[in-house]
C-alpha cells in the first residue's frame, strides 16, 4: 500500500493519459476503414487528389431504393437465410452441445474433432464437392440448398459456444424442478433456458454473422439464382461505381452492427460463452 501512495501523482496521471491515447488510437485505426465508406457513398466525380468529395450526391442511395434495385431482394434473401440458419443450427446443435458439455463418454474426442473440423477445412472443398449432387437433388439455386450448406461452417461455432456454457451448468436444478412436478417443457423453459441464455445469444450471433457474410458457399451452391447481399456486393464491386459499392456496403453492414449493439453485453464482460473457443 505504502509503495503505491508514495508514487508521484503526476506519473500516475501521465500513465492514465498515455493509456487513453493508446485506446483512442486503436479505436481510430479500427474505425477508419468504415469512415471511408461514408465518404465514398455520398461522392460523385471524386478523383485524386481531392480529399473530400467536391460534389456531394445521393445518386448511389437513389439507385439503392430505385424500383429496379436488387438490394431489397438481396436483403430479403440474406435475412431469410440468416434467420433460418440461426434457428435451425441452434435447435440442431443444442442437444449435441449438452452431451459434450455435461457428459464424458467413449469417442468424445473423436466427435469433438469431427464437429470442429469444418472450421479447419476450407468451405470451397466442401461446396465444390456438393455442387453437382445438389443440382441433381434440386437443391442448387434455391434458398433451401444454400441454407443447408451454410450449416456446415456454422455448426462448429454453435456447438462449441453452447457446450462451453453447458460445461459450467449444473443439471441438478432440472431434477429439482422435475421433482417439484414441472414437465419437460416447463423445466426447459424455466430452468435450462435462462441458465444457458447468454450462450444461445452468442451462438446465434455467430450463426447469423457467418451466414450473413457468406459469399463463396452461396455463390457455388446458389448458382447465381440466390442473390444475397454478399453476392450482390461482390458483383457491384467488380464494376466501377465506388459510390454505389460503398452505399451498398453500408446497407449490408448496418443490420449486423445493430444486432451487435443489442448483444454486445453478452460478448464481453463476465459471460463465459465465448470461452468455448478455449476448448478447441
Amino acid at each position: 500500500m505504502a509503495s503505491i501512495s508514495s508514487r508521484a501523482p503526476t506519473s500516475k496521471s501521465l500513465a492514465r493519459f498515455l493509456h487513453y491515447c493508446a485506446v483512442a488510437f486503436l479505436i481510430f485505426l479500427l474505425l477508419t476503414p468504415l469512415i471511408a465508406f461514408f465518404f465514398n457513398a455520398f461522392s460523385f466525380r471524386w478523383f485524386y487528389p481531392q480529399l473530400f468529395p467536391k460534389e456531394i450526391s445521393l445518386r448511389a442511395w437513389e439507385s439503392i431504393v430505385a424500383s429496379n434495385s436488387k438490394v431489397p431482394e438481396a436483403l430479403l434473401n440474406s435475412t431469410i437465410l440468416a434467420v433460418g440458419v440461426t434457428l435451425s443450427s441452434v435447435i440442431i446443435g443444442l442437444p449435441a452441445a449438452r452431451a459434450l458439455g455435461l457428459y464424458s463418454f467413449r469417442g468424445k474426442r473423436v466427435i469433438e474433432f469431427l464437429i470442429i473440423s469444418p472450421t479447419i477445412v476450407p468451405g470451397i472443398a466442401v461446396a465444390m464437392g456438393l455442387n453437382i449432387n445438389f443440382i441433381r437433388w434440386g437443391l442448387s439455386g434455391n434458398l433451401l440448398g444454400v441454407g443447408l450448406v451454410h450449416l456446415v461452417p456454422v455448426m462448429p461455432y454453435v456447438v462449441l459456444t453452447l457446450s462451453g456454457v453447458f460445461s459450467n451448468y449444473n443439471p441438478e436444478y432440472e431434477q429439482q424442478a422435475r421433482s417439484l412436478g414441472a414437465g419437460m417443457l416447463a423445466t426447459f423453459w424455466h430452468v435450462t433456458l435462462p441458465a444457458i441464455f447468454p450462450g444461445i445469444v452468442v451462438a446465434s450471433l455467430f450463426a447469423y454473422l457467418i451466414s450473413w457474410s457468406q459469399y463463396i458457399l452461396t455463390f457455388l451452391i446458389g448458382a447465381g439464382q440466390v442473390i444475397t447481399m454478399p453476392v450482390l456486393l461482390f458483383s457491384t464491386a467488380s464494376g466501377s461505381n465506388n459510390a454505389l459499392t460503398a452505399a451498398m456496403s453500408l446497407v449490408f453492414v448496418a443490420p449486423s452492427i445493430l444486432i451487435l449493439t443489442l448483444t454486445a453485453r453478452y460478448l464481453s464482460g463476465k459471460s463465459s460463452a465465448i470461452g468455448g473457443f478455449g476448448q478447441l
Binding site: S63, N68, K70, T236, S240, N241
Partner: protein, 419 residues
C-alpha cells in the same frame, strides 16, 4: 447528311441493302412454336431469367427499367435480371444442369448476354436453342447479309445468337492532359510514348472476364503480323510465328509501365479508375460512344474523349443466346425481339438519358425518316465519342482460338516471363 454522320460514327452498315422485309403474320415461328402469336401467348405470365454481367450499373438500370418496364407492360413478362461476376458462370450453370440431367424445359437460365468463346462452348456442347433469330418479327431491321455479325469471333452464329449492340475498341484520353496531335496512333508509336512517359501506361490483363485486354494483344499481333487477314481462321503456324513477337514487344514495355508491369489492372473498370484518378494517361472502352457513358455517370472526367489508332482496331458485337434447357423460351424470344426494335435501340444509345451508349445494330435503311431522325438527334448530343473519321480503322475480330491462346499464354509469357 445526318445519315452519313450516324453511319460514319458507328460504322454499322457500310452497304445499304434493302432487305426483303417479311411481314410478321406469314413468318414461320421459332423452333417449337407455330408462329409468333403462339410465342406471345405462351410468354404471357412467364418470368424471364436473364443472366448478364452485373458490373455495370448503367446496364443494370437500363435493362431493369426500360426492358423490364416494356416486358411487363406490353407482354406480361416479369424480368428477373441475374447479375453475374462473369458470363462464364451462366455457361457453367447450363453445363452443370445438363450434366446433372436437368430436363430441357426446366433449366434456370433463360437468356444470356454472350459472345466469343462462351458462345462457342455452348454451341459445341449442343446446348443452344435455335436457330431462332430470323423467326422474330424485328429481325427485318437487321442487315443479315452484310451487317458483319454472322461470325462471332470467327464462329458462325447459325442464327442462334441475336446481335443487339455493336462495339469498337477505342482508347480514352483526357483532353485536359494531352493534345490530340501528341497521341500515339499505332502500337509502335505507343511503345515510344511509353518509353518517354514511364509509369503512365498500363493495360487490362488479358484473361477470362477481361476480354478488353485480350483485344489489346490481338490488335498488336495484327500490327506485327500483317493485319487481320492471317487471323481470320485458325492456323497454328500463324500463332507460333506471331505470338513470340508480341510477347517480345509487351515484355519490352514492362519496365516503363505502371508499377513496372509487376501487376496489371484485372478489369476495364479498374483501368478506368486508374485513369480517372490520374494514375495513368490512357483507358479504353468497347462502347461505340466512347467516353460518353462514363462522363454521364461520373466515372470519367468531363474532359475525357475516345480515339482510335490509325489501323487494326477490333470491332465486334454483343449477342444474346437462349440455352436449350431454358424453361421460359417464349419470354426469351420476346426479349430477343424487343432488343432490336428501333425505339429500343435508340434508347440504348442515349447516354443523356438512361442509355448505356451501346451502338445500334439496326440497318438505318430499313427505318422510317422519323425513326432515323431519332438516332441522329441522340448522336448529335453525345460528348466524349471518337471522331467519326477514325472509325475507318476498324477491323474484324480473330478466330476464337487465338483469343483462348492469348488468354492462356499472356500470363505465362508476359506476366510470369516463363517463355
Amino acid at each position: 447528311m445526318f445519315r452519313y454522320r450516324i453511319m460514319a460514327t458507328f460504322l454499322l452498315c457500310l452497304v445499304l441493302m434493302p432487305l426483303a422485309a417479311v411481314a410478321a403474320d406469314d413468318m414461320e415461328g421459332p423452333p417449337g412454336f407455330d408462329n409468333w402469336e403462339a410465342v406471345l401467348e405462351e410468354a404471357r405470365g412467364q418470368t424471364l431469367n436473364w443472366h448478364m454481367w452485373g458490373g455495370s450499373d448503367a446496364w443494370n438500370s437500363f435493362v431493369d427499367i426500360v426492358y423490364g418496364g416494356e416486358l411487363m407492360e406490353n407482354y406480361g413478362v416479369t424480368l428477373n435480371r441475374v447479375p453475374l461476376a462473369d458470363t462464364v458462370d451462366a455457361v457453367n450453370q447450363v453445363l452443370s444442369e445438363e450434366e446433372a440431367g436437368v430436363a430441357h424445359d426446366e433449366g434456370s437460365v433463360d437468356l444470356i448476354w454472350i459472345n466469343g468463346e462462351n458462345f462457342k462452348t455452348l454451341k459445341q456442347a449442343g446446348l443452344l436453342y435455335g436457330p431462332w433469330t430470323l423467326n422474330v418479327p424485328n429481325s427485318k431491321y437487321l442487315d443479315w447479309e452484310t451487317g458483319g455479325f454472322l461470325l462471332d469471333f470467327g464462329e458462325p452464329i447459325d442464327y442462334s445468337e441475336q446481335p443487339w449492340a455493336a462495339g469498337a475498341f477505342q482508347w480514352i484520353y483526357d483532353t485536359a492532359r494531352m493534345d490530340a496531335e501528341d497521341l500515339p496512333r499505332s502500337y509502335a508509336e505507343l511503345g515510344e510514348w511509353i518509353g518517354a512517359n514511364p509509369g503512365r501506361f498500363t493495360y487490362v490483363a488479358p484473361g477470362p472476364g477481361a476480354f478488353q485486354g485480350t483485344r489489346i494483344v490481338k490488335q498488336l499481333m495484327y500490327e506485327l503480323c500483317g493485319g487481320p487477314e492471317p487471323f481470320a481462321a485458325f492456323d497454328q503456324s500463324v500463332w507460333d510465328e506471331c505470338s513470340p513477337k508480341a510477347w517480345e514487344v509487351l515484355n519490352a514495355w514492362e519496365a516503363n509501365l505502371w508499377r513496372e508491369g509487376a501487376t496489371y489492372p484485372a478489369t476495364a473498370n479498374e483501368l478506368n479508375e486508374l485513369f480517372a484518378n490520374g494514375e495513368v494517361d490512357f483507358s479504353l472502352t468497347l462502347t461505340g460512344t466512347g467516353a460518353a457513358r462514363g462522363i454521364a455517370s461520373g466515372q470519367l472526367p468531363e474532359t475525357a474523349k475516345a480515339y482510335l489508332f490509325d489501323a487494326n482496331m477490333i470491332s465486334g458485337f454483343s449477342y444474346l443466346a437462349i440455352p436449350i434447357n431454358s424453361a421460359n423460351k417464349a419470354a426469351a424470344l420476346v426479349m430477343g425481339n424487343l432488343l432490336v426494335r428501333p425505339d429500343m435501340q435508340a434508347a440504348q444509345l442515349d447516354t443523356n438519358s438512361l442509355g448505356t451508349g451501346a451502338t445500334p445494330v439496326v440497318d438505318f435503311s430499313t427505318l422510317s425518316e422519323e425513326e432515323a431522325q431519332a438516332f441522329a438527334d441522340i448522336a448529335a448530343a453525345i460528348v466524349g465519342a471518337a471522331d467519326p473519321a477514325e472509325f475507318a480503322a476498324l477491323v474484324p475480330n480473330t478466330a476464337s482460338e487465338y483469343h483462348t491462346l492469348t488468354e492462356q499464354n499472356w500470363e505465362r509469357c508476359v506476366l510470369r516471363d516463363e517463355c
